[in-house]
Symmetry: C2
Subunit: 222 residues, 2 copies
């Protein structure tokens, strides 16, 4: 059975020109897929979005300036939940679960070979999800090791307060100053911190900082 339908439109959002163009070229070389939008960041993507170029699959970089991957994911799952999001990521850490909850359908490592890229796109179309072997492995490992520790099935889910707190933890502010900035009592900060110590299995502020860095809660601007 030959593929005679119109190609599936794919969107690309990544601020690295080189990676983006390389991906675009690879995708354009597949008969079944075409590239309908290319953007530097989430904001630009949303601006360019219209009924003509609405992609069925969106390949999205997570760490971008302007409007980052998480914000973009949130916007898309609210406004266009039919778009299937495939995340371009170097992180195969716990934040995966956050992303899945946020509507992400799959993960690609940036050094994906063309063959697997095609496979990923097809999986997303057919099954609705895609996961590379390496990342599938991590996910299983996560479910296994985290076990029944917190929340539903052990995944580490941070709420908005904890995330904005974590961002501030990775600065030189004292907890008192963080409390002022967050407009809450220093005691509540204590509670946030202690809850995170438990959740993230760390014992000190440095542990929180390293978690935040490793999981992209704070972005490192080189």
């Amino acid at each position: 059975m030959q593929q005679t339908q119109a190609p599936v439109k794919v969107g690309l959002v990544d601020d690295h020109i080189l990676i983006r163009d390389a991906l675009a070229n690879v995708i354009r070389s597949f008969d079944e897929f075409s590239v309908s939008i290319v953007a530097d960041n989430g904001k630009e993507f949303i601006d360019k979005l219209n009924t003509g170029n609405m992609p069925e699959i969106l390949i999205l970089d997570m760490n971008m300036p302007e409007m980052d991957g998480h914000a973009t994911t949130r916007w898309i799952s609210q406004n266009h939940p039919e778009i299937k999001i495939l995340v371009l990521t170097m992180y195969d850490a716990e934040s995966l679960i956050h992303m899945i909850k946020g509507g992400v359908r799959g993960f690609l490592k940036k050094d994906v070979p063309p063959g697997e890229l095609k496979h990923a796109l097809q999986c997303i179309l057919e099954n609705g999800t895609y996961c590379s072997h390496t990342i599938t492995g991590r996910l299983f490992n996560l479910m296994k090791t985290q076990g029944t520790k917190n929340s539903a099935w052990g995944a580490i889910i941070l709420n908005d307060n904890e995330i904005s707190f974590l961002k501030l933890v990775a600065t030189e502010m004292t907890y008192k100053e963080i409390a002022q900035k967050m407009q809450i009592s220093p005691r509540t900060i204590d509670n946030y911190r202690d809850a995170l110590f438990l959740k993230l299995n760390v014992k000190s502020r440095v542990g929180l900082v390293m978690y935040a860095v490793k999981n992209g809660v704070v972005t490192i601007n080189y």
Copy 2:
């Protein structure tokens, strides 16, 4: 005057297949340059190196597994100092000076457009060095702001003690535990810390951790 000589051989060391192939294709499109070696990491590069494919310019990624950019730089400037090293980097931070001291001739950001890549290669050949405008700016800024504060002309140079201390600072060990591990008195740890506070212009342990992360003193394993 036409360019009729043999093309200048360029080596490529980067563990991201996509970026590496994209760069290779771009370089191959330039008449004056050819790609003579492509490798995943420093070790592979050294293994592949022979008199036939000896590159004049090496484009090198700094953060790789196996043998990373710094180790590779060191090996090259000892064994083949004639090879001009162009670093592919996202860091435009102070660690630049370390790299320059290590023999690096220039810096490229990963999202370099093809035109500038060509320009960079030509600059390296003609002047021996290359620096993108953005990074040149950072360097000037660095020299200006750091002024006459430390060392020769203000560059932040960390000695071995400070580097191994910084690595431990980014763990959940207390200073007392760090002192034990480093086999020195806790007071000396105080001295190290206070010296780094001054040098790096930070006020707390979190500041040290963030510096270590941003400058690759500690490596984040995703």
